[in-house]
Symmetry: C2
Subunit: 180 residues, 2 copies
Amino acid sequence: MNALGYALLSMLVRKPRSGYELKQLLEVFWQAKHSQIYPLLTKLQQEELVTSELVGQCGKPDKKNYAITEKGLSVLKEWIPHPPAIPVSRDEFLIKVNAIGLTDIPTAKALFEERIAFVNKKVAYREQEIKSMEQTLGEDVKDISSKSFGRYLLFHRKLRENREEIEWCRWALSLLDRSR
Amino acid sequence: MNALGYALLSMLVRKPRSGYELKQLLEVFWQAKHSQIYPLLTKLQQEELVTSELVGQCGKPDKKNYAITEKGLSVLKEWIPHPPAIPVSRDEFLIKVNAIGLTDIPTAKALFEERIAFVNKKVAYREQEIKSMEQTLGEDVKDISSKSFGRYLLFHRKLRENREEIEWCRWALSLLDRSR
DNA sequence: CTAGGCATGTAACTCGTTACATGATTGG
DNA sequence: CCAATCATGTAACGAGTTACATGCCTAG
């Protein structure tokens, strides 16, 4: 079992989902293409960690809904207390920042401004998700017994991270304004 | 050319480095094992983006110092203004957070506390790096014309990110304390 | 005396991305 | 009419990790 496998299982705890849905929902904490997700789900099914059910839809293509099994649940439960692997983040933008001295100030500023725009979109989406969780679940979402507690924590994590990045971009822009 | 290649080039702008050194210095914005770095440096040399020089040392093994060429510099310069790829971050800890509802409160708390300890080490290292840059370069480090400006921005970025994560962990812990 | 740092390299493998492949429906 | 969304899959490739391989020096 690899990390993506556990990520998929963790998404299925709350309720059954299709591969397509899983891809979207995963975005906040693990990025994967459908070409990686679909074969993995088949493999998880072979290992009896999930079951699948074909669901016909009207006006949309059929989909396969996956549900976590008892075995899947216990495998996931067992995995949680183990010390997690060191996180990796790979961000081309930061390579460009490292080499920022090679460009002129307008190019450098444009880089940061585009980044702010990019992260702002994420902020808006996170805020909306958090709001909708709070509206449907109320104060319960802040309790570990809530099925959405983990996801709620995650969205807060990412929202804070994104806001923090924007502040840093603005600080960098202010240094660029004072440069040379 | 892939992103790691640009990352290596960006590190060589300030001064020549060995593969071993590059691995350490890269840590702040791109993680790679030596088994990926050494062959890539050979490839970069074949493409004449870097040159290498064997340096004998006393009390230590010999090393290969790589320097960026004019061609390497122009390739890197040309790359900077292009829109960067979407950042990816993969963090097993966040998968565990997503599935946190499956564990008991003590296990959950231990997970966050270990994370705080892990990130605290990073914070200490970042702070020390920033301090040493400020001491050796003074206010100049805050100007784009400084050779360390990019790296200085980077360390601030990561320090802020790390501090932010610790705050979030504490908030999560406070919710766990109030739970059930 | 042994664990860890310095220093470089290759081979085998897994993980992740891009491209190929199909097809219906909806909104602009 | 064209682009996007929904929906699933495979094949080929590139990126990244683990393991294999070597060897000297230093500090506890």
